[in-house]
């Protein structure tokens, strides 16, 4: 029962996300999901704690199942929007194209422009007089990623030439 409850609440969070994504709100898609997830996750935590007790196996497991499904959904939904592989698959969905035609549709400059727009919308970059610079939040994120890259052994040069 706890498993079904957990999956049910996760589906509710996804439905709430779909609704929030159609409203005019000052949040990114990820922010909207975190908002929906926080509300629905809190409701799930309250329900399972009431039903099974705080320190019980079903409470612990229900929250972990909800957490995993939420992370998986967030990963897949950001992948669908921003991944190059996903864009290739979506572009070829209803038609077959040559590599040259695909290159025209998904050219590198357009990909950079889209990412700049997203980083501007997320408040990580700011633009003035056709120049972009990092905001405070962007600097914090950039610094953290530099540390993470150093920790994982991904050098900046190797990163720029990464072939994922």
């Amino acid at each position: 029962m706890w498993f079904v409850t957990s999956v049910g609440f996760w589906l509710l969070a996804v439905a709430a996300h779909a609704v929030l994504c159609r409203l005019r709100l000052p949040f990114t898609a990820v922010g909207r999901f975190l908002l929906a997830n926080l509300a629905i996750g809190t409701a799930l935590a309250w329900l399972v704690c009431r039903s099974y007790g705080i320190w019980s196996a079903p409470t612990f497991s229900a929250l972990l199942v909800f957490g995993f499904l939420s992370e998986l959904y967030l990963f897949l939904s950001t992948l669908a929007v921003a991944s190059i592989s996903a864009t290739v698959l979506l572009t070829l969905r209803n038609r077959s194209l040559s590599e040259e035609q695909l290159s025209v549709l998904l050219n590198g400059q357009r990909m950079v422009s889209l990412r700049v727009e997203r980083l501007l919308a997320a408040g990580l970059l700011s633009e003035s007089a056709s120049q972009v610079r990092l905001t405070a939040a962007g600097t914090i994120l950039g610094t953290r990623f530099l540390r993470l890259k150093a920790f994982l052994g991904h050098t900046t040069a190797a990163h720029d030439h990464a072939e994922p």
């Binding site: 706890w2 996804v14 779909a18 994504c21 159609r22 019980s56 196996a57 612990f60 497991s61 229900a62 972990l64 199942v65 957490g67 995993f68 992370e71 998986l72 990963f75 939904s77 669908a80 929007v81 921003a82 190059i84 592989s85 290739v88 698959l89 979506l90 070829l92 077959s96 040559s98 590599e99 695909l102 998904l106 050219n107 590198g108 400059q109 990909m111 950079v112 889209l114 990412r115 700049v116 997203r118 980083l119 970059l125 633009e127 056709s130 120049q131 972009v132 610079r133 990092l134 962007g138 994120l141 950039g142 610094t143 990623f145 994982l152 991904h154 990163h159 720029d160 072939e163 994922p164």
Partner: protein, 173 residues
């Protein structure tokens, strides 16, 4: 016995998570092989399969329903741990947006047109690699000069379309 069984499962699993992460940090992180996507994916995938099998078998041997419930929770905890690790690892290794962010960080203030020129080449290279990778996975096929989705490719594409319907993002790419 039941209490020992459940707390034993949690204790051993916690120790295992620490060990799995510790082996990466202290032994594998510096190896050049550990910088390949395939290696890091297998390191987590194989561990997750072995861990899940062992923890579920151990729980069924406990004969108490709460042991199995705990085991299922631990399997999902592994899912959260591995997915978080792999997401951060791949973002640090190859994210286009992070590359862009770090380029601006190095330059301080960069003209948008220059950024577009400089990073477009990386995007083109990534696109070629992804097309080859998708073909390798059997999601794309070549018919003469043209690229076409295979049946599994159409299925994945349909799934992506559903996700886009939910998130309603406007332009993708």
């Amino acid at each position: 016995m039941t209490v020992y069984c459940v707390s034993g499962l949690i204790g051993v699993s916690t120790l295992y998570f620490c060990l799995h992460f510790g082996i990466y940090v202290f032994a594998l992180r510096t190896l050049s092989a550990s910088r390949s996507e395939r290696f890091i994916l297998l390191y987590h995938l194989v561990a997750a399969v072995v861990f899940s099998t062992l923890v579920l078998v151990a729980a069924t041997a406990c004969t108490e329903p709460s042991a199995l419930t705990t085991a299922v929770g631990l399997v999902f905890a592994h899912g959260i741990y591995s997915m978080s690790f792999l997401e951060l690892w791949s973002l640090a290794q190859g994210s286009y947006s992070i590359t862009l962010l770090l380029r601006v960080m190095r330059g301080g203030s960069v003209p948008t047109s220059q950024l577009r020129e400089e990073l477009a080449a990386i995007g083109e290279r990534k696109k070629r690699n992804r097309i080859a990778a998708l073909a390798g996975l059997g999601l794309l096929g070549r018919h003469g000069d043209e690229l076409k989705l295979t049946a599994p490719g159409r299925l994945v594409s349909q799934g992506l379309k559903c996700l886009l319907w939910i998130t309603n993002p406007g332009e993708t790419g």
